[in-house]
Subunit: 267 residues, 2 copies
DNA sequence: CGCGTCTTTGAGAGGATTCAACGTGTGTGG
DNA sequence: CCACACACGTTGAATCCTCTCAAAGACGCG
């Protein structure tokens, strides 16, 4: 029997759930900016659903690296929010009056191209912020959870006011945004300079990091989406690498045996 | 005799200079975010080379919408800088310790793809900021002036300190960055969802604005670069529109006669 | 087991770049 | 003043990359 899944279904699915890989991957990736990551990086192993006030403050402090009272002010303005896997935080076209701060999990900004194709624009990991900031605005993307997601939501106006009145908040915000700008520029550069296979290769290197291993091995359909290509292309690209002995792949791990060579191939 | 210019040469050239169109175009385009532009928008008609202190303060205030003393602090930390057309502000790979605030003119972030092809990642108009912000960092793009350009340069560390100590600065910075993030997302969306001709059409609409006229008519090679395609493709796309009577083109102006129809074609 | 998902491979189609050629306008230098 | 180089635009043909379509196998799960 043939495979009848339309790409649309696949796309919708792949951005969701089950592989733990994707979550980890994106979480790892979303903060690969030049500046070091803030000390705190979400903690999905905690079993509880709601954060204690103290934790909330700690979160604020580590995200904004701010004083106690600033954290308190933020904590008070914030509302905790849980979104199930595949849940939609906000829809394209909505007039948003909020920002969302990712506490745990990963949120993705995606667009449905006119042909129904789903396109990934950005992903937000723990400590990152999305929504409408300088003022309320219509959203140009959907924001969906790709795994269980816990957020802090805060009114745009309140956040702006806080930023204006409290230096720590403003500064923290600017750092947050600068980092996002940075990674977005990277992604943009990759998308426009590299060929489809090149983007796949680059993503492999990024996911592998210094250890040159991806464990568990990546789900190709998901990887394809993040670099804006098709599973077929990704599959072919990687098959090529395996054939040439540049990467080795087992059920448990994908290992890059010749990272230098792979890096050369990208250019 | 044939034309022997390699594409590389062309690319290098086109990003420069002579057509006044390109400068205006980008200047118009770089602030098309949802939030209204700050009240002040550069003034190239002023004949002098150096800004008075008072003007400098005014610039700061309108960019950061901040108090007098914050503006004074910024003004003191800043060094004025003039870059000639085609001049390079900073090079890819440089370890930058500065941020630059565009006072007048347009700066572009560009990358040379491995094949020597020049690619435009972003452009910064008056009131926009680029460089390394949260901390010193290696630049991933060249920054070049595309027309006479005057900048304020400020040490990254100084700016960060100011942001942390002065709420107005931090807030202003966050607004600046949020706006850039916004437009970058837009650009990204356009680049990934649209076809090459679609991007050309979209750019036409954007340049034309409400008046539906582009005056003087766009330099195709430059337009092609901004939407990341070739002059040939751009030329074909527009020739098509002209043939179908959707736009009219003379030496002096390009006019969109059927903006609705054109908008339809983009999707 | 049937179903859905993921992967892989081949073949075909389409879009966009590349190459080639030519016309035009502009500025430079002999 | 006249080449000449250079930039820009236009058009056609060839080429290549990438997506789409089609088919089939593997795995996990209710």
């Amino acid at each position: 029997m043939l495979c009848l899944i339309s790409d649309k279904t696949l796309a919708r699915r792949a951005s969701g759930s089950p592989g733990h890989f994707f979550g980890d991957a994106v979480r790892e990736g979303c903060c690969q900016s030049t500046s070091p990551v803030i000390g705190w990086t979400g903690n999905s192993s905690r079993g509880m659903n709601s954060l204690l006030d103290a934790e909330r403050l700690a979160v604020m402090q580590s995200v904004f690296s701010c004083s106690d009272d600033a954290a308190a002010a933020l904590g008070a303005a914030v509302r905790e929010l849980s979104v199930p896997a595949k849940g939609v935080v906000a829809r394209q076209g909505d007039l948003a009056h909020h920002c969302w701060l990712v506490v745990d999990g990963v949120a993705q900004a995606q667009i449905n191209g006119p042909d129904g194709q789903l396109i990934l624009l950005a992903s937000y990991g723990p400590g990152e912020l999305f929504g409408s900031y300088p003022g309320p605005a219509a959203l140009r993307t959907d924001f969906v959870a790709m795994g269980a997601l816990t957020l802090f939501s805060i009114k745009t106006t309140v956040l702006a006011d806080l930023a204006r009145s409290n230096a720590d908040v403003g500064h923290g915000l600017s750092v947050l945004l600068a980092r996002q700008l940075d990674t977005l520029l990277d992604r943009m550069a990759a998308r426009t300079t590299l060929s489809a296979t090149g983007r796949v290769y680059a993503e492999l290197l990024r996911l592998a990091g210094d250890s040159n291993r991806i464990e568990p091995p990546p789900v190709l359909s998901a990887l394809a989406l993040t670099v804006h290509t098709t599973r077929e292309t990704a599959s072919r690209a990687i098959a090529n690498l395996v054939r040439r002995g540049i990467v080795r792949r087992t059920d448990a791990v994908l290992e890059i045996t010749a990272p230098r060579l792979l890096a050369e191939l990208i250019a």
